[in-house]
Structure formats: C-alpha cells, structure tokens
C-alpha cells in the first residue's frame, strides 16, 4: 500500500532525487554524537506545542473577562483538557530547556564555524522566539502571578534608552497591563511568533540537511589526520535514534503532566495588591535577579537601563558568535570564547537558583 502511494506520487512528482538523498545521507558517529539528538528533541517538543496549542485554541478565550475561566473550563470540564493543557505547559518549559542545551552543545562543539554560520544565526533567533513564546504564553491564563510578572517584565522594556516608553506601550497596548495586553499577547503567541518560527525553522532544517551534521574540531582533526570517522545512515539508523528519544521525551511529558499538574492559581485582579514572591518563569529568572541586584545608579547611568543594555549586548554577541570566533574553522577555536561560554552557563545556573531562593 505504502509502495503504491509512493509510486503514485513518484510518477507525478519525480521523487527519485529525494529518495536518493535519503538513501545516501549519512550522519557522523563519534563520542559526541549524543548531542545531535538534542536538536531533534527540541524539534519534537515544538511539534508537541503546535499540536497541543491548536487543541487549546478550540476552547481558550482571549479576553480579560473570560481567559481564566476558559482555562479553568479546559482543565476541569473538557475531556482530556487537563492533559493537553499540562502537556502544553510542561512541553513549553522542556522546549526552552532543550533549546538551551542544544545551543550550548553546538556552542562548545563549535558547530557554528564556517560554513554553518547561518544555521547558528537562525538557531539563536529561534531561541529568542521560543523565549517570546514563553513570555507571551505565560500571561494567557490571566492569573495573578502571570499578570504581575508581565507588569514587571514589560516594565523593564521602559529602561531601553530613547524607545523604552514606546516599547512598553507597544507591548502592553496601553499604559498598563490590561485586557488589551492579553489580546495582543494572544495574537503574538498564536500568529506572529508561529509564522516567524515556520520561516526560521524551515531555514534552520534546510541548512542542516544541505550541509549535514557538523563534527567537533577534535574529530575533524582526527579525520584530517587520515582516520576514518564512522558514519551511520540517516535513514533508518539516525531517524530511529531520534524517534527513540522522542518517545522518551513523550514519556517524561506524560508523567510530568499527571504528577505535577501546572497550577492555574487565582484570577488576575488589577486592583489587588502585588502578591508576595512575584517572579517570572525560570528562564527569565537569572535576568530578573541580575536586574534586582544592579544598584539604581551606576556611573551616573540608570542601573536598570545598564542591565537591559547589557543583556541586549550579550544577545547580540551570541547572535554573531560565528563571526567573532573566526579561527574556529581552522581548528583553532578561541579560548576566550570557551571561557565566556563556561562563565555564561555558570552565571545562568547560579542566578536562576539564586532567583528561586531569593523569591
């Protein structure tokens, strides 16, 4: 049956080229190969987000008066609504975690070096978009914690010089976080960011397929020295490996969804006093904690502005990393960049934990 369908399509679309590509494509196999699967897991979680997100759209209502109640309805009345909502919430968090793991693995293995600069750039942009998904999605249940965290988060944009006030108003759809902000975030979450993701993810995957997997400099050196690096067929070997990891991820997601259901909290009330322990999602916690620690004024400049500019500069550096570490392609990666990467990981881990304990 499958063969008949394929033959029918082949007759019309000439799929021989694609068949040959799949049949011939190989993936290097070495002691660092396990990191290749991190991208695959991240991609799988994106798929989970799209599927569960579409299902949530069937019942979710994006208005200040109905958002909270509609999520409450989803988790308590809709058949398997609890599962879909909890998987969506957990998958979002695991997705960002895996995106970071994928980022740092490709960073330390110097996968961004020539000729894969664009793969890196699209990947970093995708990470920023995933953070945008997290930020906009956090507000959608319209609960108290998310409401006030969004107030703080969008308020930070005001520290950007010159355009800060405009950015705050643009993000909030007004001077304060209101129903207009919710509608705006909803539009960003379900239309703008998915559209950008489709384009960037398509380009990212196309580049990977076109250029193949990068091997770490140490493996490349051995290869140049004449050693043969073993390869495994992309199909079915690598694909089966990927699928196996996807199944493991699915099992973890299902267990988390059942045993640690994502709390809905209480409905947002703009007139309520700010609740204690207000904090953003864990992936913004390091930044949040840093901004809290920066003094109000540093060298005559506003502390918060300095922090926001610092993070923007770090994001910019991350984006253009392949062009900074120019000798990585010659097998001479910058030790300074390696040290900076290690420090960045330590900073993110320590400040995230610190942020949790401080809150």
């Amino acid at each position: 049956m499958t063969q008949q369908v394929f033959a029918w399509l082949d007759e019309r679309l000439d799929l021989s080229g694609l068949r040959a590509f799949v049949a011939e494509k190989t993936v290097p196999k070495h002691r660092h190969s396990v990191w290749y699967y991190m991208g695959g897991i991240t991609l799988f979680l994106v798929g989970v987000q799209v599927a569960t997100g579409i299902l949530l759209l069937l019942y979710y209502r994006p208005s200040a008066g109905e958002a909270f109640e509609s999520v409450q309805f989803i988790v308590s009345q809709v058949q398997f609504g609890w599962l879909i909502r909890n998987v969506h919430a957990w998958s979002a968090n695991l997705l960002i975690l895996m995106a970071f793991v994928h980022l740092f693995s490709t960073f330390f293995l110097r996968a961004y070096r020539k000729p894969r600069e664009l793969t890196w750039v699209t990947g970093v942009l995708l990470l920023f978009i995933m953070l945008g998904f997290g930020f906009s999605g956090y507000l959608l249940p319209w609960n108290e914690l998310a409401f006030f965290a969004t107030k703080v988060g969008t308020g930070s944009a005001g520290a950007v010089p010159l355009v800060g006030d405009f950015m705050v108003r643009f993000l909030r759809g007004g001077d304060d976080v209101t129903g207009a902000t919710l509608t705006r975030f909803y539009g960003i979450h379900v239309a703008i960011l998915p559209a950008l993701t489709t384009v960037l993810l398509g380009a990212h995957l196309l580049f990977i397929q076109r250029q193949g997997m990068s091997v770490p400099p140490s493996v490349e050196k051995r290869e140049k020295a004449g050693e043969t690096i073993s390869q495994e067929p992309f199909f079915p070997n690598y694909v089966l490996h990927d699928v196996m990891w996807w199944y493991v991820s699915l099992a973890v997601l299902a267990a988390l969804a059942l045993f640690l259901p994502w709390e809905l909290g209480t409905k947002a009330d703009a007139f309520a006093s700010v609740p204690a322990g207000i904090r953003p999602e864990w992936y913004f916690l390091a930044m949040f904690q840093t901004l809290k620690l920066i003094p109000p004024h540093v060298f005559g400049l506003e502390g918060e502005m300095l922090g926001v500019l610092g993070f923007s500069a770090a994001a910019g550096l991350l984006l253009v990393m392949p062009f900074l570490d120019r000798h990585a392609a010659d097998g001479r990666p910058s030790k300074v960049i390696t040290a900076a990467g290690i420090l960045a990981v330590i900073y993110l881990v320590v400040f995230t934990i610190y942020g949790y304990l401080a809150a």
Binding site: T26, K29, Q72, V75, S76, W82, L83, T228, S230, Q231, E232, P233, P236, N237, L240, H241, V243, M244, Y247, V248, L250, A251, A254, A255, L258, F259, L260, P261, L264
Partner: protein
Amino acid sequence: MATWLRNLIGPARAGRYLLAGAALLLAAPAAAQSAQASGCETCHKEHPLPALSAPARDFSATDVHRERGFTCVDCHGGDPNETDKVRAKAPATGFKGKPSGQSVIAVCTRCHSDATLMRKYAPKQRVDQGAEYATSVHGQQLAKGDTKVATCTSCHGAHGVRLVSDAKSPVYPVNVAATCTQCHADPERMKGYKLPDGSPLPTDQRAKYENSVHYAAMTQRDDLSAPTCNDCHGNHGAAPPGVGAVTNVCGTCHGVFATKFALSTHSQIFDKGCVECHSNHEIAKPTDALLGTDKSSLCVTCHSDGDNGFTAAAGMRAGIEKLKAAIDRSHALVATAENAGMAMDGQTLALREASNHLTLARTEMHAFEPKAVATVLQAGLGITAKVDAEGQAAMAEVSFRKTGLAVSLGAILLVVIALALKIRSLKPRE
C-alpha cells in the same frame, strides 16, 4: 503664591486657600485676645489649690467648647474682666460657681437642647439629651434628690471635654466600659442600689464584660461597632433593659436570631429572653454544645428525658453534628482530589454553601422548631452528597489517569526497547 501649593492643588484653588489662610491669621489674634481676656484663667491657673487650678489648666489645654469660642463664664457666670475676685463673682454678674446635680443638667442643656444654637456648632448632633436623661435611672434618681448619680460631666468630663469621636474621650467606644464602671464597679458607691427584683445592684459587670465575645470583638478585632455598655443600656437614657425588651436590645444587631426567637414557644416562657441562655455581660462565643441533651448543654437545665423539648433538642443537635461531619468528610475528599491534581474549585465553593446551611440551621434553631431546622440541614446534606459524588468521580478519574499513564508508559517503553533492538541490529556505514 507658593509654587508647591500651586502645583499641588492648581492655581485657582491655591489662591482661594491663601486668602482663607490670611483671613485666619488675621482672625487668630482676636480669638487669642478673647481667651486671654478671661480673668478667670489668669488667677485659677496659678491657684495653689489643685481643685481650683486643674479645671483652668484642663480647659485651656484641650476642650471642644473652648475651641468653639466658649469661655468659663458661659457655664459658671461671673465677670471675666474684673480683676478683683469678690467683684468678679458678685451676684449681679450671674456667677453660679461649680454646678452640681440638676444644675449640671441645666447648664449643659441650656445649649445642648437648643436646636437653633446647636445648628451653628454641630448641626447633626441630637438635642434631646436632656429629655432622655430625665427618663434614665440616673435622671430619675437625681430628681428624687440622689446626688450620687451620674450627670453629664460624670461621663463627658467638665473641663477638657472631647468629641465622642476622639479616641481620648471617656465616651469613645473602647473607653465607655471604664467610664461607666468608675461608679458601677465601686461596691461602696453602689451600696443601697437595687435591681427591679430587689437584689443588690452587682458591681462585677465590667469583669464579666471583659470576658465576653463583644469585648473581644472591640479590643482584639478593633470592631468599634461591637457593643459596650451604652449599646444595650442606652447612654443618656441609661436604664437596664427590662423584661421583654432584652430580645429587642440583642435584636438590634442579631436581627434574624431575634425574629426566630420571637416565633418560638420559649419567647413566651423566658423571662430574660436571650439572657436565659447567653447571659448578659459575660456573653461567651456560642457553641453547638449549648444545644442538646449532654450534661454541658443548656436545654437539660429545664428539659428532661421523655419530654418534647428534650427530644427536639437531641434531634436538632444530632442533625447539626451530622451536617458538620458530612462537611468535614467532603472537605477531606476534596483536598485529596486537589492534591492529586484535580480542579475542585466548584466543589470548594459548594462546601462553602453547605457551611452556610449549617449557620442557617443554627439560626433557625432559635425558633426551636425541629422540622424547620431539619429542612435546612437536609439542604446542606444534599450539597455535601453532591460534592461527595463529584469527589469520588474525581478520585476515579485520578485512578483512570494513573492507569492510563501506566499503560502509556508501558507501551512507550516497549516501543523504545523495540527501537533500541532495531537500531542495534542495523550496521553502521563505513
């Protein structure tokens, strides 16, 4: 014009306020002159006898009358411009000296019963204090010549009088009990006074009141609407609530209870109304233990095994206990389901409604009509039964989810093992 003031309230209003301020500054010396012109204070403040100097000092420190322009002569008469004390207190000056007894009432009500005058100073204040006082036990005793009883100044003070809303006033709600019991807790002063039944007037009211739920509400929860002496006895028309009036007094706040009680057989029998069960000054927080046929219950004071009241009390208490137990059970079930990750907000809300029915039953009980109580309790039990059913369904759902997860994980594990075996069987390409 001060910039800060203009910024704060706007230029037009700031101008008006500045003009008003200037007028006040100009007027202030005149007022001060008028107060200083009182020769009474000049001598009395420095008088070697404290009994004569203290009034002048208190009056000049803080006094609501002085703040409104009244001086010593408005109550005491005399000539404040005369420096010689004999001429200042000459009969022609209308000097009254220290008013006492009925004179106090006359001096105070001269203004406080004058609606036209009072409208100038405190338009919302009542002007019937004098008339009310005449109806009070204090007023009646005074009319009989008993000068030990309280007059206006006994409670409000004579010099240094403060508004009732001033927290330092002796008649501010939290201070009332202390003010009344200056006399009423003094056995010596109360000697000879009797209750309508002929028994001596007790002096332990304050000690008992301080053990009451009302005192706790006022002092621990800062609830100034909680009753103190005057809320039940009246203030200017102070009198003990007579037989038959107690329910109305309590019903001022506890309206529903009073209405239910009025429908009951007990309202015909209980001489002291609410006080029969709840006491008067030492009103403790009521508990369900007051109802029923236990040794600690109040019903057994009059009812005994076999009579209708005994059966009714036992039935109502059993019904209340049954609903309490049902609510506790449902709460535990809802908590278990919530801990298992189920959304139980609707059930939590329903249990609040069940608790409301418990409160309603306790209220209804004051009519001492078991059928009416049973109807309310039954409605509450209906709610808990529904919550229980939903709680059980939630727990069944939890069980279903866990089974589903176990089956899914088993299936996933099998697929992962199968994939791993398949991958192992595939040969890498060199």
